[in-house]
């Protein structure tokens, strides 16, 4: 089997990426614009020994995924804004209990039922801070259909490696857009697998280096007989109300992701070396942004493009360094300035940050970005 070339939409590419990574379990609840992912999983998974279930709501969906992941199965769910909000409770559970799970959020306009189902990028902050309590997780944002495949695959690698929920933040435009995708030969890569203990003897489910170590995860039902709890727990997994136990646990979880922040940074940069005005964006907004930047360059304007793929943990240093030369940074995004907040945080204090938010349910036109870009020179 060699490479396969297929025309597919973003949602399909996410599913293909997940299947390529060895997806074994999908639980979901219907919500536009993500439904194609569930439909495809319902069709494909049982053919290869996997399991699909349509749950009674999104709370149940993420919960079932966590249960399945505990048995050692790679699990995924897909949803959109309203469903993503309902999942927050158990996303926190997965963060604390360190259960690998992948969540695709095909963003749509909110809050509430909003403008179904126009594209949006309004869940950037929800992806990071949606669940209560201090926690760390990973969120990746594909900028085209091919990246839906690649980043969903990568989401599994990271989720299994760090034992953390990974969110794939797409949007209605990317989810439904069709592009040609070259699928790699299945023999050319290895399937992500989580590290497992060798034997139940002396197994401590949460024993790990306090400086961000990742404990070994034993699958349920293989004689390890361990206890998984959403209460703070010590190395043995037993619940504990001790100040030192909670403190050590939360700090380890924070470091687990935090210390790898720059290593996790993934982005696309073009003409950033000498740019005076930079455009920073993600997802489908970045498509219009890139074409505006290229047009500006043709006119001799020193514009640069930075498209982020890793949204969380936010790559402070990487982004700060890349934007170091720009005097102005324009941030087009389909929300009222969520990414811009992070950009403001990491650039020099004398760099001007222009918030270019759009919340009318329409995609950016390259002209909109270009006009702002031109004004900045």
């Amino acid at each position: 089997m060699a490479e396969t070339v297929k025309l597919m939409q973003g949602n399909e590419a996410c599913t293909m990426g997940a299947l390529a990574a060895g997806l074994e379990f999908f639980a979901g609840y219907p919500i536009t614009p993500s439904t194609e992912i569930a439909e495809m999983c319902a069709e494909e998974l049982p053919k290869f020994g996997g399991r699909f279930i349509q749950m009674e709501d999104e709370i149940g969906s993420i919960s079932a995924c966590i249960g399945a992941s505990l048995t050692g199965r790679k699990s995924m769910t897909a949803t959109s804004g309203p469903g993503f909000s309902l999942m927050q409770e158990s996303i926190g559970y997965a963060c604390l209990c360190e259960i690998p799970v992948v969540i695709v959020n095909v963003q749509r306009m909110g809050p509430s039922t909003g403008m179904p189902t126009s594209p949006a990028q309004q869940d950037l902050m929800q992806a990071r801070w949606g669940t209560h309590g201090d926690h760390s997780l990973i969120a990746l944002a594909p900028g085209n259909v091919r990246e839906c495949y690649e980043l969903t695959f990568k989401a599994f690698e990271l989720s299994e490696k760090y034992r953390v929920p990974v969110i794939v933040l797409t949007d209605e435009v990317i989810g439904h857009m069709r592009e040609k995708v070259v699928l790699p030969d299945p023999r050319s890569y290895s399937i992500p697998r989580r590290a497992m203990p060798d034997s139940p003897a002396g197994y401590k489910p949460y024993a790990a280096d306090p400086d961000g170590g990742v404990p070994l995860m034993a699958p349920f039902g293989q004689g390890y007989r361990w206890h998984c709890t959403g209460l703070f727990h010590d190395e043995s997994g037993a619940p504990s109300g001790k100040a030192t136990v909670g403190n050590t646990l939360l700090r380890r979880l924070d470091r687990k992701i935090g210390k790898n922040t720059e290593a996790l940074a993934d982005y696309y940069a073009e003409n950033m070396e000498d740019c005076e005005v930079a455009v920073v964006s993600f997802g489908s907004s970045a498509m219009a942004a890139l074409s505006a930047v290229r047009r500006a360059r043709k006119q001799g304007l020193k514009a640069g493009m930075l498209r982020l793929k890793t949204m969380w943990p936010f790559p402070d240093k990487t982004v700060g360094d890349l934007l170091g030369r720009a005097r102005t940074v324009i941030v087009p995004e389909m929300n009222l300035g969520q990414l811009a907040l992070e950009i403001e945080r990491v650039v020099h204090c004398d760099t001007e940050v222009v918030k270019l938010g759009k919340v009318n349910g329409e995609l950016f036109h390259p002209d909109e970005v270009f006009n702002v870009l031109k004004e900045a020179f």
Binding site: M1, T4, K6, M16, L19, A20, A21, G22, E24, F25, A27, L45, P46, K47, F48, G49, G50, R51, I53, M55, E56, D57, I59, G60, S63, A64, C65, I66, G67, A68, S69, L70, T71, G72, R73, K74, S75, E89, S90, Y93, L183, P186, R187, Y189, I191, R193, F220, G221, Y224, R225, W226, H227, C228, T229, G230, L231, A238, P239
Partner: protein, 258 residues
């Protein structure tokens, strides 16, 4: 005996409940040394659905309470019953939220007191067994922490049923429910529970006025119906493909191998 002890988390005994709490009677299973999963409040059955569906060979037991199962997790409860997924659910129903100090729950009888029902419960309570039955559970039974032998027997039968099984255990919360309603201590409360129940077999021979307002205990419902994970597995055998049929991705599914 040594074998049984092997399955207890001895360091976790005795249990964490108040003295005289009915949960202690029922929860020997909570200290059982299996793989155990303490989920977010209300989500136990949804987590269990994932465990069972992903690894059907596992025996899955859910320990839940009236608030967990009938209020915040009510949706998961009825849908698991509808699917008839092979999970044994033991509901410890003490008619109150004991942990949060005695608020009324979906199973607090009308008129009784709770910290959020200071003038008597305005709402009416669920009959959890009727609910489970109507939703599609294939084994439904009820006992109390007074009728311990019966309870053990029913749990055993529920575990043998291949499908969604519900055993409701009426238990006492002397600390809040008993005190608030001035019923007395654990013993009085246990008697109060006992007096509210009548065995389903005995009830058959009693005139209607004798069973008016009483809760039936014993085996209340048992039917055969296809179980969810088995039906799903059957479907997969009809559409099985091999690795080479898969266009464009490696597959790591090992589900069929166990």
């Amino acid at each position: 005996m040594a074998e049984i002890l092997d399955y207890f988390r001895k360091e976790r005994l005795p249990h964490i409940w108040c003295q005289g709490c009915g949960h202690g009677t029922v929860t020997s299973a909570l200290v059982l040394d299996f793989d155990t999963l303490h989920t977010a409040h209300g989500r136990a059955i949804a987590f269990a659905t994932g465990v069972k569906h992903a690894k059907p060979k596992l025996k899955v037991i859910v320990m839940t309470g009236d608030g967990d199962c009938a209020a915040i997790g009510g949706n998961h409860f009825i849908h698991a019953a509808r699917r008839n997924i092979d999970i044994t659910t033991i509901v410890m129903n003490n008619s109150t939220y004991g942990m949060t100090s005695g608020q009324y729950s979906p199973t607090t009888p009308h008129g009784m007191l709770g910290t959020t029902a200071p003038y008597g419960n305005v709402e009416f309570d669920f009959d959890l067994c009727e609910l489970a039955k109507a939703a599609g559970a294939t084994y439904v039974a009820r006992a109390t922490s007074f009728h311990v032998t019966l309870l053990q027997d029913l749990i055993e039968k529920a575990l043998m049923n291949k499908g969604f099984s519900v055993v409701e255990a009426l238990t006492q919360c002397p600390t809040y429910f008993g005190r608030k309603n001035k019923i007395g201590g654990p013993v009085e409360l246990l008697n109060w529970i006992k007096d509210r129940t009548v065995n389903v077999k005995a009830a058959a021979a009693l005139p209607p006025e004798k069973i008016q307002g009483k809760m039936l205990i014993g085996e209340l419902h048992k039917v055969e119906r296809p179980e969810y994970t088995a039906t799903y597995a059957e479907m997969t055998t009809k559409i099985q493909r091999t690795f080479n049929d898969y266009k464009g991705g490696n597959r790591g599914c090992e589900l069929n191998s166990d």
